[in-house]
Symmetry: C2
Subunit: 232 residues, 2 copies
């Protein structure tokens, strides 16, 4: 996939979410991973600027910290289809599960189930990149105390589905708060302060984070369960 088009975009409106635009070739078929509702105009402008045909808006999971752009994009570009895990419980045009492929032109995302942050978390592998959502962050990971989260499950997911990828696979997370853009599988296996530990230590760490109640969860979750902006 040498001609793959790839762009990373950052939500400057407050959620620090990364959105990813991929296309199989210049002017080809595209997917947007984890769009944010406040950034839909920016994202669609870039799709248009690059002359791409947007096929799917793909979510790594049902987010609790921002509203997905999926519904608004579907309204603005009829024909685009939304994708999320069957296990997320969220409404979408296409429900995927472990082992499925999301095809765009000659390229595809390979779906890997990586539950633990939520029950329906997916990672998507494309070429030498993995889009890990909140399962694996740069030197961190998503919390496990909401939405059916489980530290044990997250540990197993990351070790079985992400840390088994080649060490030079580039890790693209759903968020970063310190200005990091990416990492690699090899780096996170060696340097992640949580997931490089034993499972027992990881569970202990995750049980003692003492995090506040997620700020936007009561607004974001009901909307994200119906694709962001409810279709009429």
């Amino acid at each position: 996939m040498r001609s793959l088009v790839f762009r990373q975009l950052f939500d400057t409106a407050g959620s620090s979410t990364y959105t990813y635009l991929l296309a199989d070739r210049p002017g080809g078929d595209a997917v947007l991973v984890d769009p944010v509702v406040e950034q839909v105009d920016r994202d669609l402008k870039l799709v248009e600027d690059l002359g791409l045909k947007l096929k799917y808006v793909v979510n790594t999971h049902c987010h609790a910290d921002h509203v997905t752009g999926s519904g608004l994009i579907k309204r603005k570009l009829p024909g685009v289809r939304s994708v999320i895990a069957k296990d997320s419980g969220a409404k979408a045009d296409v429900h995927v599960a472990h082992g499925d492929r999301v095809e765009f032109g000659d390229a595809f995302l390979e779906v890997r189930a990586t539950p633990g942050h939520t029950e329906g978390c997916l990672s998507y592998v494309c070429d030498n990149m993995v889009f890990t959502g909140d399962a694996l962050l740069v030197r961190g990971c998503g919390r496990t105390d909401f939405q059916g989260g489980s530290a044990e499950t997250l540990y197993d997911s990351v070790h079985a589905q992400i840390f088994t990828l080649p060490d030079d696979t580039v890790v693209y997370p759903a968020h970063d708060y310190k200005g990091h853009r990416s990492s690699t599988v090899g780096e996170e296996k060696r340097l992640n302060p949580r997931l490089s530990k034993s499972k027992a230590e990881f569970v202990e760490i995750m049980g003692n984070l003492g995090l506040p109640y997620p700020k936007k969860i009561d607004e974001a979750l009901p909307l994200n369960l119906v694709c962001g902006i409810q279709e009429e």
Copy 2:
């Protein structure tokens, strides 16, 4: 340069500056382009995590919107040398000019003079990437009303030194305020709302921006002229 290590880092402390870490190979010799003083600990942690040997801190120009991390890095890692344009008027260990190379291991940055935002603005070309500082931003460019800036000069610089690179050269700017991470030379030639215009139109646009006085210029400039943190 297939084994090149490359990382883009973002200043979340307010200046929206991009800092770039490059090394000739995993565990090899490295340069940091445009480090920000508030992010020095993060940047040096990454250098250490990746087992790199930092040779140079390289500035695209004498910044007016943030304090460079060059001086603080030199204090923390004696032996690292600072690099800036001779024409910047700023103090540094190495003054470079158009056509020079900044070598790190088997790789190098090719120095291109791209004045116009300031008199001493440089762009650095490495492999298929160009680090453009404030000369060329994603769908924009730096202002030309301070530090010896000139819209005519900037237009000529970008057209002669950046737009002549292959269209698929990746443009990595010193800032972005909308969450874009990169662009390409081909895209900016076609889509940049200022620099895709005629020179006369560009000069007209730049003369009518009506921008406020730069917030941090009175603090940042005197410090950046002596490498950020004055050496004792």
